[in-house]
Point group: C2
């Protein structure tokens, strides 16, 4: 239905994919608005992985590989957009994949877990408890899953939960296209890149990082520097937009 | 449900309003994504009317008042967000209000027309024909409505239709939070501001502009200058974000 030569083809197809997944109950309507925000930030970024984002992605790989108990937290948008990429990262990093939803129902949890399993992920399920210090339903998680994690990757996270996880002493890796968001500022490491570009880069780095590179990336991690770089890219693109 | 002291209270309430209107069939799911993009751009703008946007809004009033046959084109998002503000602008400007939809069904047209009428707008309906040179359903409009318009205001427009209208020789006033969009660049005048802030300013200007101010605004209209100003505001805000 969308002509492949449309200047925004890829972006329109992704929107249709998400809307299909709203109909299936996997993506919440709020997820569509969140995706739109991401699109706008990505537009400013030039819809490409910047050099700074690639460093963040390689650092994320180093953090996951160094972790005792790494967890990838998945919501509806992340599953709809990148189930295969999540499965691949799980295999390369050895992390647990656990579903965590803001708009939580047992049915949605099951649908998303099925989608991830069909894409090849090994999903950690079991009984959830209200373990995170949050008033809303993202408080629910599994004791042996993200509650026990030392390193947790949160693609497309809300600020409250990111803050709660950091306050629990966890190392939080966020993937967030808005470098000014509360999530981006509070995370230990923020990858300012689009999810389906970011995940394969992290997976690749899990496979190809040497011991020395891993130590170097961990020793030099400076999230404010990375965020400044992302903001700088956006500023540069904006300034030259009308040239 | 949303606590009024939440840092993003207004934004969350607006999202809920749009989701309610998706359930009613007034807003399309695609409209939620579009709204999210707008939110992100507005965030960069500081969620306020800039001095440049106010000039654009006063110029829009001057264009509407000078028009022979002004039309305000309304889609689902615009009606859901700003039906009352549209009705007020219609009264102050004497413009025709006509519904035009990308995701067009007779039922949606009727729902949106009813919403606007309940808010006090005098909606121009009658029989639509496929009159605009576009392949999709935004081609449908009324011969005595927007097809005959000399000045047309298009809040939240897509680039294709904006271009078609400009190519038909019409003066197009866009309201678009993305100063880089095709709509923003192709319109005769682009207001880079959020819809519910922009419309009351245009309505106010319709009431208080003097003859001299109107001539001055029309004589000095320079859309590239206005767009550069909006981009400059966003760049400034981004650059100081981490200070």
């Amino acid at each position: 239905m969308i002509p492949p030569d449309h200047p925004r083809y890829r972006s329109l197809v992704t929107r249709e994919l998400l809307i299909e997944n709203v109909k299936k109950g996997i993506v919440s309507p709020e997820g569509l608005t969140a995706h739109g925000r991401g699109e706008a930030f990505d537009y400013f970024l030039g819809e490409r992985t910047t050099a700074g984002a690639l460093i963040a992605e390689r650092t994320a790989a180093a953090l996951l590989l160094a972790a005792r108990h790494p967890v990838i937290s998945v919501n509806g948008n992340a599953a709809a957009l990148a189930a295969c990429e999540i499965a691949a990262l799980q295999k390369a990093s050895g992390a647990i994949v656990e579903v965590n939803l803001f708009h939580r129902t047992e049915k949605r949890i099951r649908l998303i877990e099925d989608l991830l399993r069909n894409a090849g992920a090994d999903v950690f399920s079991g009984t959830a408890e209200r373990l995170l210090p949050l008033s809303h339903d993202r408080a629910w998680c599994r004791r042996e899953g993200m509650f026990s994690a030392d390193v947790i990757m949160v693609p497309l996270e809300d600020g409250d939960r990111c803050e709660a996880l950091v306050n629990m002493g966890k190392t939080v890796i966020a993937i967030d296209l808005n470098p000014l968001s509360r999530t981006a500022r509070r995370a230990t490491l923020t990858i300012v890149d689009e999810l389906t570009r970011a995940l394969p880069n992290i997976t690749g780095a899990c496979r190809d990082l040497t011991e020395d590179e891993r130590s170097e990336l961990l020793a030099t991690l400076d999230n404010n520097y990375l965020l400044s770089g992302a903001i700088g890219e956006m500023t540069k693109r904006l300034s030259h937009a009308l040239d």
